[in-house]
Every structure is written in C-alpha cells, then in structure tokens.
Point group: C2
Chain length 416, copies 2
Amino acid sequence: MKAWIVAVGSELLTPFRVDTNSLAITERLNAIGCDVRLKLVVGDDVDELAAVFARGIGSVDVIVCTGGLGPTEDDITRDALVRVLDVPVDVDEAIVDHIRQRFERRGLTMQAINRRQAMVPRGAVVLQNSKGTAPGLWIERDGTSVALLPGPPREMTPMLEALIAERLGPRSGGAGVFRRVLKITGRTESDVDARAQPIYSKWAASPVPISTTILAVMGQIELHLSAAAPSRAEGDHALEMAVRELVEGLGSVVYSVDGRSLEAVVGDLLRSKNLSIAVAESCSGGLLASRLTDVPGSSDYFERGAVTYSNQSKVKWLGVPEALIAEHGAVSEPVARAMADGIRTRAGSDVGIGVTGIAGPGGGTPEKPVGTVAIAVITPAADHVRTFQLLGGRDLVKFQSAQAAMNMLRLMLLDA
Amino acid sequence: MKAWIVAVGSELLTPFRVDTNSLAITERLNAIGCDVRLKLVVGDDVDELAAVFARGIGSVDVIVCTGGLGPTEDDITRDALVRVLDVPVDVDEAIVDHIRQRFERRGLTMQAINRRQAMVPRGAVVLQNSKGTAPGLWIERDGTSVALLPGPPREMTPMLEALIAERLGPRSGGAGVFRRVLKITGRTESDVDARAQPIYSKWAASPVPISTTILAVMGQIELHLSAAAPSRAEGDHALEMAVRELVEGLGSVVYSVDGRSLEAVVGDLLRSKNLSIAVAESCSGGLLASRLTDVPGSSDYFERGAVTYSNQSKVKWLGVPEALIAEHGAVSEPVARAMADGIRTRAGSDVGIGVTGIAGPGGGTPEKPVGTVAIAVITPAADHVRTFQLLGGRDLVKFQSAQAAMNMLRLMLLDA
C-alpha cells in the first residue's frame, strides 16, 4: 500500500512550526506495511487543498490528512474534500448532540458555528473523537481511502490507533515494516559504520530483508533497523537476531536496544545494584544532575549534586585542595578526581562523579582548548578518570560531558 | 510571489526525521514578500520528484528544493529536474576541478562517482557551495524559478542567503513580511489573549497590517507579529509601535522582545547590577543551574548550585533545620526560604534561590499534589517566597519550576 500524509494549517507554513503528527502516522502506517510516498503541508486554503486531494485520489491507496476540522471559517479540510468528491453534505444530529453534551459537561453552551463540525459528506464514515469536539471522517473513492483526523496530537493519536486497528490494519494481512533502534555512545559515526556495515550489509538479501540507517544526533549515534516482514512474529524474530549480531559486533558501546535513554539505563543499573549517587559538575553546569533526575523515581538513588563553577566552591564545598588547582589547573584529571571524591564523601553515597572542563565559547587555551573535559567516576569497586576532547558549541559540550560521565559509570557498573 | 518548498530524501519519510530546513527557507522567503503555499517531502524517487516539479513549474513563482544533490545513485534531484525540463546535461569541468581540490586538501582522492555532482542541465546557473562538494543549481522555466540546494543546513544556509541577496531579493523591491516575537511567562494563553486581543485586533486594518499569532510552548506564551510592508523600514517602524503597545498593555510579564531566552535576560540583569547568584534545587533537579549556565559567560555571575534531593543533603549542606522539614514538610515555603538562605550564605553570593516541589509522577498527596512547587528568591533588596501549582508531566514541572524561579528573580531585579 502507498500513502500520502497531508497536514493542513497556515501555522505550519510559518517559520515557527513543523508538522510532527506525520512522524507518528508514518510509524503506524509502516507497521502495517504501508509506504509513505509523499508528505505535504497545505495552508488554510481550500483551493490548494482541493488540488492536493484531486491529485491523490485515484493515485495512492491511502491519504491521511490532519488538521482543519475545527468549527471556524479557517477550517477548510471538510470543504476541500467535499468539493473534490462532489457529493452532498448532511448534518449528523448525533454528532451535534455529542458536541452539545461536551460543552454542557463543562458548563458551556454550544455555539451555532459548531454545527459545521457535524457536517458529513454523503458516503463518509464518522470517526469518533473521544478527546475533542471535531469528529474524523473516512471515505473511499476510486481505490483511495481518505482519512481526515483532527490536528491536536492528543485527539489525533487515539483516532489513528483506531483507524489502524479497525480499518487499515486488517488489509495488511499482518505484514508490515517493524523496527528497532540501537543507541550508541563514545564512538564516531564512521567508526560505528565501519564495524556495523559488514554485519548489516548481509541482511538486505535475507528472507526478511532488514535495512539499516545510521543517524548522528547531538554527537550520539543511532542505528535504525527496519524489517519488511509478512507478519509481526517474523519481523520480530529477524530483528532480534539482527540486534544480537550487532550488539556482539559492536560490544558494550551499545547502551540501549529498547528506546531507553542513557540516564534511564544508568538509573536501572544503580537501582539493581542498590547504589546511591552524587555528582559534582563544573562545565556541565547541572545538566548531569538534571538528566539523572529526569528519570521518574530517581530520588531512590540520586542523593545530591553540586554545580561548582567557581574555584572557591570547589575548594570550600568539595574539599578540592587549592594546591591541586594551582598545580594542575581547575580543568585537570586530579581536580576531577578530587571533585568526585569530595562529593562522594560529603554525600555518603556509593558513587561519586566529578566533571570539569571548558564548555566555551571562551576560556580555551592552546593546551586546553574549548571542549577539553576531565571526568572522574568512583564506585565501590573502581576508580576511573579520563580526559575527553569534545567537539561542538557550548550546548553540545555540556550534553556530551554529561553523556560521557554517564557512559563511564555504565561501563564500570557492567564490569563490576 | 508564491513559493513551494520541496525537501528530498527518503530519511525524511521515516518516523525519525522531520524536514527543518523549510523553517529557515520560509523565514527568508517571507522576508522578501514571498508567500509559501505548499511544502512537500519526497523520497529518493525520481518519478515522484519529477511529478512534483512538473506540477510546480508554470504554476508558482519559486520552487526551493533541498537535498538529493550528493554523488550517489540515491541522489536523484538533478535527474528529476532534467527529466521535466527535457534539456541536455553538460559536465562542468570547473566544478570537477573544485571538487577534486576539496578532496586533495583533505589528502583524499576524488572518486569517479563525484563527477555526477558536476552535471549541469543546459541553461542552469551553478550556485557555489563554499561548505561542501555539491553545488546548487538555479534555472528558470515558464515563469518559475527553481533553486536546487544541498540538504545539510551548514551548506544550505549560506547558499540560501546568497540566493535571497542576489537573485530573489531584488525582485521584491524591498517589500516583505517582517516579524517580532514577544515572550511571556507567568500567564495563561487565554489570559494573554484576553489582554492582547483588544490591542492587536486594530492592526489588521492599519496601513501596514500586522497579524498576530499566539503560541503556547512548554507552558510559556509567545506572541508572533508579522507585518507585510512595502519596505523593511516601514515594517520595522510598524512593528516597533506594535511591540511598544503590547508591552504597555501586558506589562512586565513580557520578558523578551528580541528573541533572548529567560536565562539570558536574567543573566544580563545580574551582570548589569554586578550581582552573583547561587541556587539550591530539589524538584528541578539541576535544570535551573543548567539553564543559567547555558548562557555563554555565565561563569561571571553564577557562583554555585546545589541539587539537594535528599532531606539529609538539605539539612547538612544547606543548613535547613530538621525541625522545619518535620513541621512543614520538605515541600513548603519555609523550607524553600531556608534553602535560598542556606545556599546564599554558604556561597557568599548576592542572590540565593531555593526550589522545592513534587515533580511527579509519584510523591503527590491530596494537600500537595504533583506540580506543587515552593520557590524562594533572596536578593540584597528583597526576599520573596511563593507556591505554584504547575501542570503537566515531570519534564514540564521541572521546566516550569526553573522558569518560575528565574521570572521571580527577574521581576525583583526590575523593581530594585
């Protein structure tokens, strides 16, 4: 099956908003073997949208269209479709009642304008919207199924799920494109590709072909595997073999094969080993603590964090010897080690981390350029310190510092 | 002028990537009065893309197309355009030389495949790419100007600027759509709209009409003003009047009219008043420190931060009396006040902030539900403490806690 995804709304043609509904729609369509060939964004312009419908109907199997189903004159999706289908429109009094009840439950009175939302092109099926007033519509013409869904994601998503489960999924006979994502840190894109390519290149010709895409985001690498399979079971089976082979080939640089973030992976390791943690940060400026505490339930293992930007705070709060800073500089392995030790002792935690570096844009020197970051991790079993040379602007250095610190801890906990 | 923006690349039809180039392109096109009517995303499929070109050429003034200009067989943009134009293709040896030199400067040898990038449809103008090997192309046919630009933003952006300055801008005669963004915190969307609507509703009919859009992002409100004006000077003049009227009407809830983030605004206030700051956080988990230190140069005023998740760390590190926690609970105004005072005293800073709350999803009670956050701010001149009821999931509560704390400080510094 081939599909188009159409997003309607003039705000999506401004410099401020991208259509993101299409990502979730693509994922669900792919999972039932439906290939997205074209994505379009159209303003609140009935002529433009009618032209899009006219071109798509009869040429693709499915058109999923989001937005433009509200009650105002700007909401032109229904009108554009009706113009192309050239069918009469009926007001569905059941929908009017449903909308009226939604308003009344909130103590409000339905406006006459909302009757527009109850207009149904003859031959269309109404798709229930449990989260809002705008119902969806589903109509078939010339071999093309057209689905109109509302734009707000919280309304759109459950309606999409119902559409897939009840109408589109059964057509696929269980076939689809199934996916896995491997997340990797501490390696470059080209390094990961050099190791992974001999593994994944074989899969293009296997009975369940698997295609592999490598993506670099914020200095981190993701491998996206897609298997086109006749059933979910066969897809899952092929993908599990593939993931196992890649993890064997790449080793422990793979930190997640199930979508978990690095902070969640580290949090699960800490919880399973019953270890508490405290962190002392300079260049990462609190981002390490913030990411560790992004995980629900992290208060079970996160004891405290210190953001010691000034030298004075490193000395007075963490007990870093002034002589150490004078001798090696604030950005150095001995100071990172003393920060980790200082926070661990003061917090009485099992794990201590110290991060000190130069986030930029200022502060670099020829010996210690922007992006130089020293990280120390102390666990009950081991004590590691390393210096990284990170690339990118201030945000990226902060992010990668936190990432490198968590990854060092992860590898040490896996070893222990 | 009317434009289409076309993004080419199969990765943009997966669930993992959105086209974001189109936002920058829209902004630059709007600024020269060119209206974006349609955005399309096409895979690496020469038939689909040729069909898009065939529909667009002759029906819009400008088509800006990004991606698909690389050297591999997947890169089909040039081929699709040539098919529609039906012109011969010449290899431009000057481009071949340019590509060869780029490779040689990096100690690499140009592959034969890269000659594809030097293929120029007859009648097209070559657009120089200073950041990569793929040159752009510009061709006019049937009243439509077609620009092909590479996909990577760092290559695309300077080529877009040159295109606007040298080719498209001069056609506009200086007319364009000019913009301003007002950022607001501490008010709901409906509250901002109720106050702003009587002000901005007049502008639709003014000599330089200004349209206003209200956006809510992460619980924060933005007002986007767009003026369609015959010249930049007239646009700027109308927008400056408009911004002034809105700021007068809305008051100090407007924290930025020039794109600056709240952390940058607060940082500038601290710097101008020569004040240092230290923060103690519980529920925001380091995000307040991390955002304050996102600003380049923040080490000038940021002294330290404490992420005191455990009660013990609040007591031992910040000197919060245990009795205070026992009496009022860790999430309370007296504890927030003691945290602010404790960090300020220990850091010897001018400003101290204490944030304590329940980020969720666990930990809420009927009296103190998830989203209850107490914030205290102490400056040399004043001492404020307030309790907020924030909505949303853990991420949103963390973000809004940091936002509310910075906004309290901003208002206190403006008063002082």
